[in-house]
């Protein structure tokens, strides 16, 4: 595969991974806010949330592997997991590694959920709210010099709006159980 194709693959899958990550975050918020309807019962939203996050992991892996295989930027395997040690744009790339590490923690603990302490799982799951913005900023920082950066920025705006709307909804949602317990 030539270096330019790898470059585009890396870019493309990165954007798609972020879009899917956004979807996962939005669905997570809808789940936490207990959105439910006849056609979209809780277990459906919960299952789609899970599947979308796993799918975003798939694209993330392709994104990482293609960046490493591509010789252009000299990115090593190590740079994908240890933040800020790369020679290529160490800060912006490092953010990606950081986001990926946190996401891995969230995913692994979620796959092991029945076996680990609930409060530990929940505390780590909250890191999802950090995974997303760090990934977003990583995308801008590493893509800003690109010819087609405008697509990255457009997708970022779409993702940002989606998260903001979902967050606004989530913060406004309540349930009698939560209210009764915090009285």
């Amino acid at each position: 595969m030539n270096t330019q194709a790898l470059w585009y693959l890396s870019r493309g899958t990165g954007v798609v991974a972020l879009l899917l990550l956004t979807g996962a975050l939005v669905l997570g918020m809808l789940n936490a806010g207990r959105l439910t309807s006849e056609r979209w019962p809780r277990f459906t939203i919960s299952a789609i949330h899970r599947n979308v996050s796993l799918l975003s992991l798939v694209f993330l892996v392709i994104h990482i592997v293609s960046s490493i295989i591509d010789p252009y930027a000299g990115i090593r395997w190590l740079d994908a997991v240890v933040p800020f040690v790369s020679s290529y744009r160490s800060f912006w790339l490092g953010l990606g590694a950081l986001s990926g590490d946190l996401m891995l923690a969230v995913l692994i603990t979620s796959l092991l959920r029945p076996r680990i302490n609930y409060r530990v799982w929940r505390a780590i799951h909250w890191l999802s709210y950090a995974v997303w913005p760090i990934a977003l900023v990583h995308g801008i920082g590493t893509g800003i010099t690109d010819d087609h950066v405008v697509w990255v920025l457009i997708s970022d705006v779409v993702c940002g709006l989606a998260v903001l709307v979902a967050l606004w909804w989530r913060l406004g949602s309540t349930h009698p159980d939560t209210e009764a317990r915090t009285r």
Partner: protein
């Protein structure tokens, strides 16, 4: 194989109701949204659904325990 029954940790339960969605044959919700589970053993044909209900519970309040 040992028989199993459903139990709910009442303090952990937050009335999300996924258990009743996934296992309506065995789980009813009271008027406030909290599950009522039978005390007898889960029939073998519903054990798989029971396990998925247990893993779907957002707060891990629903469990399958061996009946003594």
């Amino acid at each position: 194989m040992a028989q199993q029954r459903l139990t709910v940790d009442p303090i952990a339960c937050r009335a999300h109701g996924l258990c009743a969605e996934l296992l309506p044959e065995l789980v009813d919700l009271d008027e406030w949204g909290y599950p009522i589970v039978p005390s007898d053993a889960v029939p073998a044909r519903l054990l798989a659904d029971g396990r998925s209900a247990v893993s779907a519970c957002p707060t891990l309040a629903l469990r399958l325990r061996a009946t003594e």
